[in-house]
């Protein structure tokens, strides 16, 4: 029997990317050459076939419990993150650009944090307003003057990137506190390898399996110097947290215990975990608990998730924490606007990855502009995550716009506005065939002594037609992200 050439089906023949940049087809003018083989292979698949494989993948994800929790009024429900089987593919050139961009960004953000918790030169030099930093609710005075290993504060950074109509990658926001989603990157790859081995055959795709080892290395590097064989743990808020699957995943990949606050105690400014044989010293912690809940003695006193006394142990240098305390001031949506200037200030370079143009509504000029152009702009509260509280001007009703105006006027400093970026699309499987859906990209950047970037990152996809909101809490899904080698 001889191998037959693939027969084109109509899977992609009626596909219309609209006026957007397409991750598989490129721009209308110049189809992305690196994707030619993948397009050809996809075009040879029948809709029924790809649909069946997609259903099998969903069932497997559910059975494996690769889920996140949604809380309804009655109960907590396990949901899988919708997984789209058509991959998003980046060329080696595109990736080299992105990688350099996020490394530059994390370097500047860490220098910024080191600066504001020590000399505060950037404030004195008038690059960023003092009240934006020192008056920020995520600024932690407890960190002032504290030296952290390698001056690294953000050990794990997730950078949310979007691609505009010209195909230019832009930074939408930084996630420098407890970014999540990396488990889906690895699990999506495993799922593709099981469901679509024929699509991946003989393609040089950069692997993503070593994330856990790289993370463990970084977290081990920040252990106290006297810990020769540091004991690392992952601190989770517990099995009812919506990202609990990811905590499990990472603990397994790192080969370390997943602990909760109740498993740890602090004594003589040292952190211990409760074992079957009493207390055992803990040297370094990858914590998936926000600053506020970390230590009821220092921050939110009602928190039951944290470990009383852990801040003091940290301040004495007896335990490593990743991320460091107080990084939230660097990923604030208002501070975000200043990141290109930070890069220039600390590194003397232009930002490799531009921001999305942003109006800071605390500034009267920007507020006026925002109010005048409300129907064209995206308005975001600065302190929220997960896509909550956003008003999309072009899609909003009259009432939503009026509500937004009221909120803006009541507390302008709590908002920024941005033009609506026409997010790039990627062919996505729907009940009616393959259709364009909007995507973003979140690369994961790991920094201990050095910085390493996981090739690709999490591609989130807005599964509902026309919508730009990709957050899992708002019905978004994800795709496998391939970085091709040369």
């Amino acid at each position: 029997m001889t191998a037959s050439a693939p027969h084109p089906t109509d899977l992609l023949s009626r596909y219309d990317q609209g006026g957007f940049f397409d991750e598989l087809f490129g721009s209308r003018a110049s189809p992305a050459p690196h994707n030619a083989l993948i397009r050809e292979r996809l075009a040879a698949l029948a809709f029924e076939d790809i649909h069946l494989r997609s259903e099998n993948a969903a069932r497997e994800l559910y059975n494996l419990g690769i889920t996140f929790l949604i809380y309804s009024e009655q109960a907590a429900i396990d949901r899988i993150l919708p997984f789209d089987v058509i991959p998003r593919v980046l060329s080696s050139t595109e990736w080299a650009h992105l990688e350099a961009g996020v490394i530059q960004r994390v370097t500047a953000l860490n220098m910024f944090l080191c600066d504001i918790y020590h000399e505060q030169k950037i404030i004195r030099d008038g690059i960023i307003p003092a009240e934006l930093v020192l008056g920020n609710s995520n600024y932690r005075p407890q960190m002032v003057g504290l030296k952290v290993p390698f001056d690294t504060y953000i050990h794990i950074l997730g950078v949310d990137l979007v691609r505009d109509g010209e195909g230019v990658f832009r930074v939408l926001e930084d996630n420098g506190r407890v970014p999540s989603g990396v488990s889906y990157v690895v699990e999506n790859r495993h799922m593709m390898q099981r469901v679509f081995p024929d699509l991946m055959q003989n393609l040089a795709i950069r692997p993503v399996d070593n994330y856990g080892q790289k993370l463990l290395q970084a977290v081990s590097e920040i252990a106290p110097p006297d810990a020769t064989d540091p004991r690392v743990v992952l601190l989770s808020p517990g099995s009812y947290n919506s990202a609990y699957f990811e905590h499990i995943f990472l603990a397994r990949e790192m080969g370390v215990p997943l602990v909760e606050g109740r498993d740890l105690v602090v004594s003589n400014d040292r952190v211990y975990m409760k074992t079957t044989n009493g207390l055992a010293r803990v040297d370094s912690i990858y914590r998936r608990i926000g600053d506020d809940f970390l230590d009821p003695l220092a921050f939110d006193s009602t928190s039951l998730l944290g470990v009383p006394g852990i801040l003091e142990a940290y301040r004495k240098g007896n335990v490593g924490l990743a991320n460091a305390i107080g990084t939230g001031v660097a990923d604030d949506k208002a501070v975000y606007c200043y990141v290109p200037r930070m890069i220039k200030y600390y590194l003397g370079e232009d930002a490799i990855l531009p921001n999305v143009p942003t109006n800071i509504c605390r500034e009267p000029e920007a507020l006026r502009y925002t109010l005048d152009h409300l129907a064209e702009l995206v308005v975001k509260p600065v302190g929220e995550a997960g896509g909550y509280g956003i008003t999309l001007g072009p899609l909003a009703s009259k009432k939503e716009l009026a509500d937004c105006r009221t909120k803006l006027l009541a507390d302008p400093a709590n908002y920024i506005s941005q033009p609506m970026v026409p997010l790039s699309v990627c062919p996505t499987l729907t009940e009616d065939g393959v259709e364009p859906r909007h995507v973003d990209l979140r690369p994961f950047v790991v920094t201990g002594r050095n910085t390493w970037v996981l090739p690709g990152g999490l591609t989130r996809v807005a599964m509902r037609k026309g919508t730009f909101i990709v957050n899992s809490s708002q019905g978004g899904g994800s795709k496998d992200t391939w970085v091709l080698e040369d």
């Binding site: 419990g65 099995s239 499990i248 215990p257 602990v259 909760e260 409760k274 074992t275 044989n277 009493g278």
Partner: protein, 327 residues
């Protein structure tokens, strides 16, 4: 040495107990379906409720102990904490907390089993389908044991798993025996195979999967006392109380020495007490003084053992923690 997180030890212990408990409950229900056909009728369904101490929980929800009500109460009723659905939910909750520690195959199996139970409808537990359903549940529990045996990493956690399994099995065996002896009352008289109560005693042995093993030891005839001796004291029958207790003793001794654990001495004392009581009690005396009372005593001692284990290894006593902090 890196010792096991205390909470993991506790979750592993209880996961094993819930799975074992579920298997035994499926056995009881399966066998009682047979009882349903003899002249005892609904009386025996009521005895399950009584011996599990569920009278209040049951009669708060149901007017009568009909077969349908009891079966629903013990299989699908998620408001009953002792139902099979609740047991597997609890095992899954333990497994959920243990996912970083147990094998992916163990977790996936429990997750799928749980989802399957959730999809059951009242038709699936109707009496004609009950035996098949009980077999499915029993076999799912056994599949869990098999997957665990074949994939669970053998460190401290494995010992806590086996401890949980054996404690629960010993406890459940005393309950099965109690249910079996409740209805007709124990006697040393031979059972006439032609009489209806042969069906009953046959079912008691079958509920612990012990009929053929019993026949090997007692090829001729069958007395209730022989059955009690076999289920309580047999040295080789995997569900006998004596064998389970001997396993517990061995496991705990080995766990302590292999992982240099300081705690657990009181738990060992408790298990020694049970062992010597089992070794010296003549069955005639047990039956004369009341089998039910003896089984109660065993259940209480096993519960004391679990408390000691919790205090020693599961981080359940604040004073111990503060002592170790000083060290």
């Amino acid at each position: 040495m890196n010792n096991l997180l205390a909470r993991y030890a506790e979750d592993i212990f209880w996961m094993a107990r819930y799975m074992e408990r579920t298997e035994n409950l499926a056995r009881i229900l399966d066998v009682h379906e047979t009882y349903g056909h003899d002249h005892h009728g609904s009386k025996n369904w009521r005895s399950i409720i009584r011996l599990n101490g569920d009278e209040k929980g049951f009669f708060d929800r149901y007017p009568t102990a009909s077969a349908e009500n009891v079966v629903y109460f013990y299989i699908l009723d998620d408001s009953n904490p002792t139902s099979i659905v609740s047991g597997i939910r609890a095992a899954r909750e333990n497994a959920r907390c243990l996912r970083p520690w147990i094998s992916t195959e163990m977790w996936t199996h429990i997750n799928v089993f749980h989802n399957r139970l959730l999809s059951l409808t009242p038709e699936d537990i109707a009496l004609p389908a009950l035996t098949r359903l009980c077999s499915m549940i029993k076999e799912s529990c056994q599949t869990h044991s098999g997957i665990t045996e074949g994939t669970f990493y053998r460190d401290e956690g494995w010992y806590f798993y086996l401890l949980g399994k054996n404690v629960e099995r010993a406890d459940q065996t005393t309950r099965l025996l109690d249910i079996g002896f409740h209805a007709p009352g124990p006697s040393a008289d031979a059972i006439d195979p032609a009489r209806h109560d042969f069906v009953h005693w046959h079912a008691v042995l079958r509920s612990v999967a012990g009929y053929h093993a019993f026949r090997r030891v007692y090829p001729h005839g069958m007395t209730p006392a022989d059955i009690a001796v076999f289920i309580l004291y047999n040295e080789s029958f995997p569900r006998s109380v004596t064998l389970c207790v001997r396993e517990i003793n061995l496991l705990l001794t080995r766990l302590k020495s292999r992982y240099k654990l300081n705690g657990g001495n009181k738990a060992l004392e408790r298990i020694d007490e049970i062992q010597s009581a089992l070794a010296t009690r003549a069955i005639e005396r047990v039956i004369r003084d009341g089998l039910h009372g003896h089984l109660d005593w065993l259940q209480l001692r096993l519960s004391d053992f679990t408390s000691e284990l919790s205090r020693s290894f599961f981080g359940r006593q604040p004073s111990e923690v503060s002592q170790q902090q000083e060290a």
